[in-house]
């Protein structure tokens, strides 16, 4: 019965927030527009009504408000600070890296910062240069802050609950194109532990590790590949720091081919870490696995629709790269698949 309960990713986050706010009076939600009628893609809708004073709008002061959230967390609150675009978190890097990530250590364990920062990432409707960035490598790189990027509604709920309960700062990455994806979500409260990748599809010719919305695109690519007789294992890392290298290495070792598909630039990013981590883990056996990265074109995000299409990996380009990585002979141009969530999205912004 519970298996039939289907929610959108947005509803799943909303349910996690509401359940945690009901459970623990220390939990509160803050951010620009969280209490407005759009409610951050519906994720915070009505929370201000249902939890008076505990879901509130803030001034446009990302650095300051991040510091405010940190201060509240230091004295025992559990703020969830929401940013409608990850690009704006770039204003708060100082507070997040110089304070939130370091407080526990530089104060010798005397201070905790149980803070959740939500950052919405990704494409949609010509957002362009400054409204589409992923930014998570910045946070993965620095010890003391965790980074999670759930893909399914189930994981969105369970990881949000885990993130709120976690005593460390957590960056919660949500792709705008996932908010209205549907999936099974149990009604009861549950936490998904950090550091466990999910095998979304089993396969034996190659391993596709795909981050955030790219996991959806990779599943489509896997369908295209299947039609060519290529069986792709699709792995969603789910959490980026900690990263579940075990699952990835085991799969890559088995398939002999690893294509990492990121929703971000590859240079010095998450995909580089996956490859480097696998290489080190395999040691002398690294030669048994062919590896490659794929991500955004190494340029700023353009708004022209035809350029935007070339900028992002898509099922076609992923399948083509996978095909050539496994040494599929000849030239194969997979058919173009429109992603309904991308075609249909025209706001809310």
């Amino acid at each position: 019965m519970s298996a039939e309960r289907r929610l959108t990713y947005s509803q799943a986050i909303h349910e996690a927030l509401a359940q945690e706010m009901a459970r623990d009076p220390a939990v509160f939600v803050m951010g620009q527009g969280v209490d407005d009628f759009k409610g951050c893609y519906g994720t915070t809708r009505d929370l201000a009504r249902d939890f008076p004073g505990r879901c509130f709008d803030t001034p446009l002061s990302e650095e300051g408000m991040t510091g405010v959230a940190i201060g509240a967390a230091m004295v025992g609150m559990r703020p969830v600070h929401t940013h409608i675009r990850m690009d704006f978190v770039l204003l708060a890097v100082n507070q997040l890296l110089n304070i939130a990530a370091k407080a526990r250590y530089m104060y010798g364990g005397a201070v905790s910062v149980p803070l959740v920062v939500r950052g919405v990432i990704g494409r949609s409707w010509g957002q362009g240069a400054q409204h589409s960035q992923a930014c998570y490598p910045i946070f993965m790189h620095t010890p003391g802050i965790k980074v999670v990027a759930p893909t399914t509604p189930y994981d969105a709920k369970g990881l949000m609950i885990q993130a709120i309960r976690d005593d460390d700062p957590v960056l919660f990455v949500e792709h705008r194109m996932l908010h209205f994806q549907r999936g099974h979500v149990p009604e009861e409260s549950f936490a998904v532990p950090f550091g466990r990748a999910r095998v979304l599809a089993e396969g034996h010719h190659l391993t596709l590790v795909a981050i955030s919305h790219m996991a959806v695109e990779a599943m489509r690519a896997a369908a295209l590949l299947a039609a060519q007789g290529i069986s792709a294992e699709v792995i969603d890392p789910v959490t980026l720091a900690p990263l579940d290298l075990d699952t990835i290495v085991a799969s890559a070792r088995r398939t002999g081919h690893l294509l990492v598909v990121d929703h971000d630039w590859t240079f010095a990013g998450a995909a580089a870490e996956v490859i480097a981590g696998v290489v080190e883990r395999l040691g002398a056996e690294a030669g048994a696995v062919r590896m490659q990265r794929m991500g955004l074109a190494p340029v700023t995000c353009p708004t022209a629709p035809n350029l935007e299409r070339l900028f992002y990996p898509n099922p076609q380009s992923i399948a083509a790269a996978a095909f050539s990585l496994v040494g599929g002979g000849g030239s194969w141009t997979p058919e173009w698949m429109d992603a309904p969530e991308i075609v249909e999205f025209k706001g809310p912004f």
């Binding site: 407005d36 446009l60 409707w125 240069a129 400054q130 353009p302 025209k346």
Partner: protein, 316 residues
């Protein structure tokens, strides 16, 4: 002067109305933030500037771009994402730019261009030039620390910059009183010791006078000035529609602004024939711009990789 101002106002108003009309066709595939109702702010300030002066604006930037003299054709093409756009189709509505007329660009991150205007003023000062830089931003930008940092430096160095805060009382759906203290923005800025003025009338002629006075003082080397200009946004924050039903503001609040519409009022002050001629010319220009945008080609695929770096080199 009335005719020239009316032409500017009417041109911006009608251009944005056309954008709103076209928008549901999905030909403009990117967010648009319309200035309908607020055009007079950009027009009034730009009227005080001279060639060589510079302006820096925001994602709600059609009005300032056009008031500074940016090409309408290239703006429309930019919204369509065409190669002939002012940013080659790569920036969209939020990143208009026209250095050839001193418009150094719009940014989609609130507050970010404020220090650029100050930096431009610093360049003028280092070069011994008497040119002026203008920074235009919304009431929300005043909450960003960078505004205060920019103001502080401009005052310390007495830089030739005019700050213009276009206060429409909202940042997206959030009203000013939820975000800022009860004192006015102008009062808060005054503490930094620079001359300020607040224009609450919505009167474009008053604004032109105030801007001329301020720009002249800045140009004389008297240091930065600050103008707060009240205005009201008639459309939703982003997109082509009205949103009176959304509940965050009352339609009644807009009524005085409609009654006071500077576009209509200034138009009515002109002889009917002069007005008709201006309107006809502007309508033709807008129609031509839309046509230009529609006929223009998409950027070539290679354009994806152009303009990342100054040289041809590929870096990453």
């Amino acid at each position: 002067m009335h005719a020239a101002l009316f032409r500017q106002l009417y041109r911006i108003r009608r251009t944005e109305e056309e954008i709103a009309r076209i928008y549901p066709s999905d030909k403009i595939k990117s967010p648009v933030h319309l200035s309908i109702g607020q055009e007079f702010v950009a027009v009034g300030v730009a009227a005080a500037l001279e060639p060589g002066d510079a302006a820096f604006g925001t994602y709600r930037g059609h009005a300032l771009y056009l008031a500074m003299g940016g090409s309408l054709d290239r703006m429309m093409a930019e919204l369509y994402g065409k190669a002939t756009g002012c940013a080659g189709g790569k920036g969209g509505s939020m990143h208009l730019v026209a250095p050839e007329v001193g418009f150094y660009g719009a940014s989609a991150v609130v507050g970010t261009t404020i220090p650029h205007a100050v930096g431009c003023a610093l360049a003028h000062s280092l070069r011994g030039s008497d040119r002026v830089a203008v920074s235009m931003f919304g009431d929300g930008a005043v909450e960003e620390g960078v505004f205060w940092e920019s103001l502080n430096f401009a005052v310390v160095r007495r830089l030739p910059v005019l700050f213009v805060c276009e206060n429409n009382f909202f940042a997206i759906h959030s009203s000013l009183q939820r975000r800022q203290p009860a004192t006015s923005i102008t009062e808060r800025v005054q503490g930094f010791g620079l001359p300020t003025r607040c224009i609450g009338s919505g009167d474009v002629l008053e604004l032109v006078d105030a801007s001329r006075e301020a720009v002249a003082a800045v140009r004389r080397g008297e240091g930065p000035r600050f103008l707060e200009v009240h205005a009201y946004r008639w459309k939703e924050h982003v997109g082509p529609n009205e949103d009176w039903g959304a509940g965050y503001r009352a339609e009644g609040d807009a009524a005085p602004w409609w009654a006071n519409d500077p576009v209509r009022r200034l138009g009515e002050s002109l002889p009917a024939s002069e007005r008709a001629a201006i309107e006809a010319a502007v309508e033709a220009e807008i129609a031509a711009a839309i046509d230009f945008a529609e006929q223009s080609p998409w950027p070539a695929a290679e354009a994806l990789f152009a303009d990342v770096w100054a040289g041809a080199e590929s870096v990453t």
